[in-house]
Amino acid sequence: MTQLATRDLTIRFGGHVAVDAVTCTFEPGTLTAIVGPNGAGKTTFFNLISGQLKADSGTVTLGGRDLSRASASQRTRAGLGRAFQLTNLFPRLTVLENVRLAVQATRPGTHRRGLNLWSVWSDHGELMARADAILDAVAMKARENELVANLPHGDQRKLEVALLMALEPQVYMFDEPTAGMNHAEAPVILDLIRKLKQDRSKTILLVEHKMDVVRELADRIVVLHNGALVADGAPAEVIASPIVQEAYLGVAKEAA
């Protein structure tokens, strides 16, 4: 059973405690939404888990293995995958190359392909097939030879998700996957997440401000406020809690 757990995870920026002793466990087979006001520390919390930032104190463990000292790349190879709030791809490589890079990055053995100097990149049939399959899944096969820089915003977001899928991690972390996205585009990404949810061995974390999305997808909601974990539980009851109503939703003004 590979569960992700944080223990007393803390980081300060100057005097400001951005993540404050967060202890939390995430079980496979559940989608946990993390909500909280702007600047609550959600992205920072992700950064601490995936290793983009090093915690001042506290631990991150995956399946009992302590990853607190591991680098970002080590954590990814250990099974922690994430997509970013702002799109963060390889702009002047093609769509296919982007995915293919992710495919060979983490699975046992394939990482070494990155160190293979003496074969032609496109000759690795099995890896190419896998990349193709993933592009198919996100309906981007048709654009596989385009440079990512030339893709529209929505497709770039989809590619973010595709990269995450290519990593085949134990834990998927999405940071506002639909931000700035049109009503026509958002459902495509949400569908992908929904599909992922069906695999019961995967743990999914989702940061999202759109409450309707959260309500629909989340099995559990964790609320961060000023860096601290202030609420944790089933969606309905968390949303109803006064702290969420006041600090987050703004005195229940938003009823949508």
């Binding site: 680098s71 970013f84 003496w118 032609v120 030339n150």
Partner: protein
Amino acid sequence: MLRHLLSNDYPRSRVLAAILVLLFLGLAFQPFLIPGIKALNVAAKILVFIVLVASFDLLLGYTGIVSFAHTMFFGIGAYGVAIASTRMGAGWSAILLGTAVALVLSFALALAIGLFSLRVRAIFFSMITLAFAAAFQTLASQLSDFTGGEDGLTFRMPEVLSPGFTLSETPVLGLTLDGRIVCYYLLFATCVLLFLALLRIVNSPFGRVLQAIRENEFRAEAIGYRVVVYRTLSSILSALFATLAGAMLAIWLRYNGPDTTLSFEIMLDVLLIVVIGGMGTIYGAAIGAGLFLVAQSYLQDLLRLASGAVADLPWLAALLSPDRWLLWLGLLFVLSVYYFPTGVVGRLRALRAAGPLRTPPPAAAGPAASDPTKSLQGDYVENN
């Protein structure tokens, strides 16, 4: 077959392919085409610079590392052969041993630099390498017992490679096949081999990871690649190839000194060639080296003609004086950055891709970035 030789990285432009074939044939038959020592020297220098510049392209164009210390490795290679040949006397063993020792030294230095590069910002790193290269040059002239100091080393090559040796008494196609020609073809073969090797490396899975790091180091680390390892490896590889280029130069010149391989001027030439040819294309190295070295070698002759033609305009004649050839080279520098931001190769490939005025694809976002150097700005990547 061709696919394998070229590692599935075709020129992707008919004009480009034609130029490359011409260049290849030109170099292959140079001794028979244009007689004379000068032309042969220029051709040999092109061969050396193709390897040198391609190795630098691996670092700059593919990995996005701007280093001014690349000539250091070039120098190490040349000094390796030079010192060994001076101490051990002319011979193949001197060449081999000198090259081997140089490779080991380059390996160690590149490793150190590669690891160091991670501590500092990209732009910082390049300025530090500038200072480093200067210090290394000083060091080379200080250790005059080994390196011959400022005066450099003059040495001999094995008999077969020396002008005194003749392969056949009867001239072939009007050319006496002496040791010089043998030496030229040794260089030619080495150049082709190393060039194809570099082409293979940049088109391997490893090469793609390097490009990913160039594009977005932060994300490369995030999807599981240890950027340190790849960057260091790339530094080392490019250093080793530069070392081999240095050895080639020493074999050809039978001379080496600090100004010949270590000077900043050579670094500038290399940079300019990469830019002219097109960064991140390897083919650009070959085309750039050809264009640039021919221009450089014959610029003064050209100016002599030009200034003669305008002799009655003293003012213009002063500018066109062959002594001011650097002025025009500088102008070439500026203009090529201006008008060939993606180099000859980039231009030719874009030409093929660009049709008439197009309406955009349904929702292509962002400017069509085609400038590999852009990522050098990415010292700070947003990690939200």
